[in-house]
């Protein structure tokens, strides 16, 4: 059995356990990897295992997602941040899991939402929970700030991408710290940025234009919720992999609230939808 790595990083010092899953398994002496460059901090080089290559078989990495979530929307308002998504875990074109929470709480000041491969999202949540547990055990009153969570997720996703084995997710990180809202996004390649409103997946094309038109930094919570409802409705109308069951997560000075799932009123009976071929025989 390999000893469990103790430190998340040499910089943290000995004795503090970080999330062990993020660390590479240390090699035995005779298994030193031949690489051109090792990291200067003394950690092992990330390299493809030459033993696997020797057989002529390529090492298998994530090439496509299986159970996926669709877009996640996020906006900042005067007193905090709202994240919204539907609760669907789709298996290709099948609506397989209709009650999957894609918005999760990290700590009292931070929430994370994910689209993409949901098993990778559960792994990411495990990493974040381990970090939060370490904070709790340390018991010094400090918790991870939203910007720190965002930065940590950027590094994890970028490093996995560099190993050609990505975590297939588009993440949204929202938080409220020191009186200021924080909203950022991280893609599966490690692309990240912060903005007043973000969206992943289809939301980029459908929701972002509406947010750009209607968002103001000093919106009230009701206005922000109404804008999100509008965006969710448009995403439900035009995204195939979505259902009419949404949750909205709010983070503000009072903490984190994740709403119960709700549905939105949709309009399918415009007059002109009825009998479209009335004046055009053969059209549909």
């Amino acid at each position: 059995m390999q000893p469990r790595p103790q430190s998340h990083s040499a910089a943290l010092g000995p004795g503090c356990t970080g999330p062990s899953l993020a660390n590479p398994t240390p090699l035995a002496f005779d298994q030193q990897r031949q690489v051109a460059q090792a990291p200067s901090c003394g950690a092992e080089a990330f390299a493809v295992d030459p033993a696997a290559l020797a057989n002529g078989q390529p090492r298998k990495h994530t090439t496509y997602p299986y159970v996926t979530g669709t877009s996640v929307l996020g906006i900042t308002y005067k007193d905090g941040v709202l994240l919204a998504s539907d609760t669907l875990g789709a298996y290709g074109s099948t609506k397989r899991y209709k009650s999957f929470d894609r918005l999760r709480k990290v700590n009292e000041s931070c929430i994370v939402g994910a689209g993409g491969e949901l098993s990778d999202f559960q792994y990411i949540m495990r990493l974040l929970e381990e970090l939060s547990d370490d904070d709790f055990c340390m018991d010094d009153g400090h918790t991870l700030k939203p910007a720190e969570v965002h930065s940590y997720l950027c590094r994890v996703l970028y490093n996995r991408r560099n190993k050609m084995d990505p975590l297939w997710n588009s993440l949204v990180v929202g938080g409220f710290h020191a009186g200021k809202p924080f909203l950022g996004t991280v893609g599966m390649q490690g692309t990240n940025y912060t903005d007043a409103h973000v969206a992943t997946g289809f939301g980029n094309h459908l929701a972002r234009p509406l947010m750009r038109e209607h968002h103001r930094p000093d919106m009230s919570e009701d206005e922000a919720t109404a804008l999100l409802h509008q965006c969710l409705k448009v995403c439900y109308y035009r995204d195939k992999n979505s259902i009419n069951k949404f949750t909205i997560a709010k983070v503000s000075a009072e903490g984190v609230t994740i709403s119960e799932p709700f549905a939105l009123e949709t309009e399918w009976r415009y007059k002109l939808f009825e009998n479209p071929a009335a004046n055009a025989a053969g059209a549909w």
């Binding site: 289809f202 094309h205 459908l206 929701a207 972002r208 234009p209 509406l210 750009r212 038109e213 509008q230 965006c231 409705k233 448009v234 109308y237 035009r238 415009y270 007059k271 002109l272 939808f273 009998n275 479209p276 071929a277 009335a278 004046n279 055009a280 025989a281 053969g282 059209a283 549909w284």
Partner: protein, 329 residues
């Protein structure tokens, strides 16, 4: 010409040869595509007036025509996006001259045409003429949209001479979809077709493979999702002409601002039974935000004076003949 079959339809003879070349590493020339936002909406105003729908004498439609309120079809034509909104058609007799009942189509389009990542034409026209009462926005390969719409326009003109009646929008739609299906999607033209004929306003989308949709509002092109978001949140039954124009302009603007393949200006085309209003560059969005003035004028007092020299010209210039010019004029 080699490859053109006598029976019509696409001749696939050369496809195997092309595949062979590709397998050998020959790179075929690509398409010059244009991103686009085109859209359309149908509007309908008379329903608001609470007028009972009856057959309008001007339409000369059969009595079995369904009574619906006129709709303005907003057809948005954008190279990058195609937006079209169809307004329901309302046929009813207007009891008083002050009643405003109009149904029609509003088409909209952006004006950017791209060749790869370069903008080829900053202000191209994407709303094509098909008939005096029918216009068509085109997205996809610019050559395909222009030639297909031009071909159908000339076919319809010959047809009008032969029949002596106004062209119907379904005729244009059938000609377009037959041609595009024959070429199995290789003619890359995604169109938003709108017009008003004796049966009322119509709005259709025609896809490159030949399928069509009849919709009250539609968008096409690379910015279609951005524009459709605006439509889905803003469309309601019985839009008036002004509301429809505003909604289409907003949707095209959404495509221009949020899609790289769309840009520049907004063109609108409003078609009603009374005629066509073609608003070229209805919104001119590519104006420079800052224009430097030549010569630059500085307000007095805004610039610190470093040095001042006064030259008395009279000391060096002598007027020897004639009257000095009157500079006050």
């Amino acid at each position: 010409m080699a490859g053109a079959s006598q029976q019509g339809g696409f001749a696939f003879d050369l496809c195997k040869r092309n595949e062979f070349f590709e397998a050998k590493g020959v790179k075929h020339p690509g398409f010059t595509k244009t991103g686009t936002t085109i859209a359309g909406i149908i509007f309908k105003a008379s329903a608001r007036l609470g007028i009972a729908a009856e057959s309008h004498p001007a339409f000369a439609s059969p009595p079995s025509l369904r009574l619906c309120t006129p709709a303005f079809i907003i057809h948005w034509h954008a190279m990058q996006w195609n937006f079209a909104i169809q307004l329901p058609s309302l046929t009813h007799a207007c009891p008083s001259p002050c009643c405003y009942h109009q149904d029609g189509v509003v088409l909209g389009a952006d004006t950017r045409s791209t060749a790869g990542t370069t903008v080829a034409d900053k202000n191209c026209e994407k709303i094509h003429y098909i008939a005096p009462n029918i216009y068509c926005c085109g997205a996809g390969t610019a050559a395909d949209t222009e030639n297909v719409t031009g071909m159908v326009a000339s076919q319809l003109e010959l047809h009008r001479y032969a029949t002596g009646t106004q062209s119907r929008v379904v005729t244009a739609m059938t000609l377009l979809k037959g041609h595009l299906f024959k070429y199995q999607g290789h003619v890359s033209a995604a169109l938003v077709l709108g017009g008003v004929d004796f049966r009322g306003p119509h709005l259709f989308t025609v896809y490159p493979h030949g399928s069509t949709d009849s919709l009250p509002y539609c968008t096409m092109g690379s910015g279609s999702l951005n524009a459709m978001a605006v439509f889905e949140s803003g469309y309601k039954d019985d839009l008036t002409r002004e509301e429809a124009m505003d909604l289409v302009a907003r949707a095209i603007r959404s495509g221009i601002m949020n899609d790289l393949g769309s840009g520049s200006n907004v063109d609108l085309c409003i078609i009603t039974k009374d005629g066509v209003e073609y608003l070229r560059n209805h919104e001119y969005l590519q104006a420079k935000t800052y224009e430097r003035q030549f010569p630059q004028k500085f307000a007095s007092g805004s610039v610190p004076v470093v040095r001042e020299r006064i030259y008395d010209i009279k000391k060096v210039v002598t007027v020897v003949e004639g009257e000095p010019m009157d500079m006050e004029a």
